[in-house]
């Protein structure tokens, strides 16, 4: 089931005018920012479907930018996010795509700082709820509603067990887990949604494990 909480239906508390095109857009931007772990110097927003058609009237641009700046759905600064982004020295671009995609409200965010770049594709499924569907070419399913770990690792046996063991040691329960890879034996992505926040020590332990390339933490 896509909707698991009554607060997906009654909520979020948000700045108008659209839960899918404003609040959802802000949430996708915010998760992208958490994944990138810093404010990007340059960000491109590729808009698809209804996002491409109606983004201006819904404040979608402001919301996406605000999300990337770290603003939440109820943050009054969303209304004037471009001013804040300009002030922060960020450059951005909105691109309306004609390509037909699976979900009507889809955005691909490409963030760049120097040589570091990241591509995040998210969909806004209604009522402010979102899902991150793709990260740097890896398929995933991330709601952004729970604390989560995203672990990029070499596709070898034992890596998943080691990450799970590190969490078990701290009595952190795994709510949802997904692994995906582009090619056997190459890079893989492990996404672990947990019920409670993950402490720095556990994080370091997973980072130090063999074959782990990068660990990113996102929280509620």
């Amino acid at each position: 089931m896509q909707f698991r909480s009554v607060f997906d239906i009654i909520g979020p508390i948000m700045v108008g005018p659209s839960s899918s095109h404003t609040a959802g857009a802000a949430r996708i931007g915010l998760v992208a920012r958490q994944l990138f772990q810093e404010q990007p110097a340059f960000v491109q927003f590729h808009l698809y479907g209804s996002f491409a058609k109606t983004h201006q009237g819904h404040g979608t641009d402001e919301a996406l930018l605000g999300g990337v700046l770290g603003f939440d759905t109820s943050d009054q600064r969303l209304r004037t996010a471009p001013d804040y982004a300009a002030e922060a020295g960020m450059k951005w671009e909105f691109i309306e795509e004609n390509e037909v995609v699976l979900h009507p409200n889809t955005v691909k965010i490409v963030m760049t700082t120097g040589s570091k770049t990241m591509e995040v594709t998210g969909i806004s499924v209604g009522g402010g709820k979102v899902e991150i569907k793709e990260l740097n070419g890896f398929d995933l399913n991330l709601s952004g509603n729970h604390p989560a770990l995203l672990i990029v690792h070499e596709d070898r046996y034992g890596v998943i067990a080691e990450a799970a063991a590190a969490l078990a040691e701290r009595q952190i329960n795994i709510g949802h887990m997904q692994v995906s890879r582009k090619e056997q034996g190459k890079e893989a992505l492990m996404v672990i949604e947990v019920d409670h926040n993950i402490d720095a020590e556990t994080l370091q332990k997973i980072e130090a494990a063999d074959h782990v390339l990068q660990v990113t933490k996102i929280h509620e």
Binding site: R4, I9, I10, G16, P17, A23, G57, P104
Partner: protein, 294 residues
């Protein structure tokens, strides 16, 4: 976890508890939260709704485009000063629903129920019925859990966004949710709540999402008005003992099938319906033609 209206109603009947209690208990167990946590989080939503309603009926809000604002206040004043035709409770709900949506269109703070475009119906009816039934704060919070329970079933079996299923999925769902909650607050049975939801949603099937200039304003504000009055009427019908011949779950299925066959032009793209009328297109040109972004 309940997946259908039938399961929701049966749980309430078997355990002899209210629908709101079924939703509260599920939220506590699925997300490992205490009753206090769940209740106080919902109260925050209630507080935001109350502020939006009060702002909309006392201030003349204006959207960035200038298309909407001030009508909720206008209707509320009319209702206070005149002998009305459709009755004060209905108009109170309608004016408060419109007020909330006007605050939303003005980029004010609201609580999505289930969406922002349909955010007026549930609080509009709640704060009107409150004047008649004088519920305590807990009963008002419970109203939101009943609304949420039905919205939860609709969202998981159909859709709640205009882009996915048209306005029937947004204002239609919101009105159905409100009708069910009114029935519980008025002392009706869980099954009467389900009939009220079914009768409300039946009357909104097929409603398309065709916002002028793609903005959540025209006709959204006035559709929230209609959603609120529809919910009140259906709630009274259910309380009178009238039943929906088509069960609630099948009405939700019908809504899903209708929405799935709606062309994209009628699903929040701003390309069809009222958006494509000469006047609708003229507004769009006036708003965006000059390069002004909202």
């Amino acid at each position: 976890m309940f997946k259908t209206v039938e399961e929701l109603v049966q749980t309430a009947e078997n355990e002899n508890i209210q629908l709101s209690e079924v939703m509260i208990r599920q939220e506590m167990s699925v997300h490992d939260r205490t009753r206090d946590e769940v209740m106080s989080r919902m109260e925050e939503n209630l507080n935001v709704m109350e502020r939006a309603v009060n702002r909309g009926i006392t201030e003349t809000v204006k959207s960035v485009s200038g298309l909407t604002g001030g009508d909720g206040k206008k209707l509320h004043e009319y209702m206070m000063l005149h002998e009305t035709l459709s009755g004060n409770l209905t108009l109170d709900a309608v004016s408060k629903a419109m007020a909330t949506n006007e605050v939303n269109a003005a980029m004010g703070t609201i609580c999505a129920t289930p969406t922002a475009g349909a955010a007026g119906v549930v609080p509009g009816t709640l704060f009107a019925v409150k004047e008649k039934l004088h519920p305590d704060r807990e009963a008002m919070i419970r109203y939101l859990f009943v609304s949420g329970a039905f919205g939860y079933v609709i969202a998981n079996n159909a859709f709640i966004s205009g882009a996915a299923g048209g306005c029937q999925a947004e204002v239609g769902s919101a009105a159905g949710m409100a009708a069910a909650a009114i029935v519980e607050m008025a002392g009706g049975t869980p099954r009467q709540s389900a009939h009220a939801m079914a009768m409300t949603l039946k009357n909104m099937l097929g409603l398309v999402c065709d916002p002028v200039a793609g903005l959540v304003e025209v006709p959204c504000v006035k559709r929230n008005a209609m959603g609120a009055s529809n919910a009140l009427t259906a709630a009274d019908m259910a309380l009178a003992g009238i039943e929906s011949r088509i069960p609630a779950d099948e009405v939700i299925d019908a809504m899903y099938r209708i929405g799935s066959s709606m062309p994209a032009a009628l699903r929040e793209t701003g390309d069809g319906g009222l958006a494509a009328t000469p006047t609708g297109k003229k507004y769009k040109e006036e708003i965006f033609g000059t390069g002004v972004h909202s």
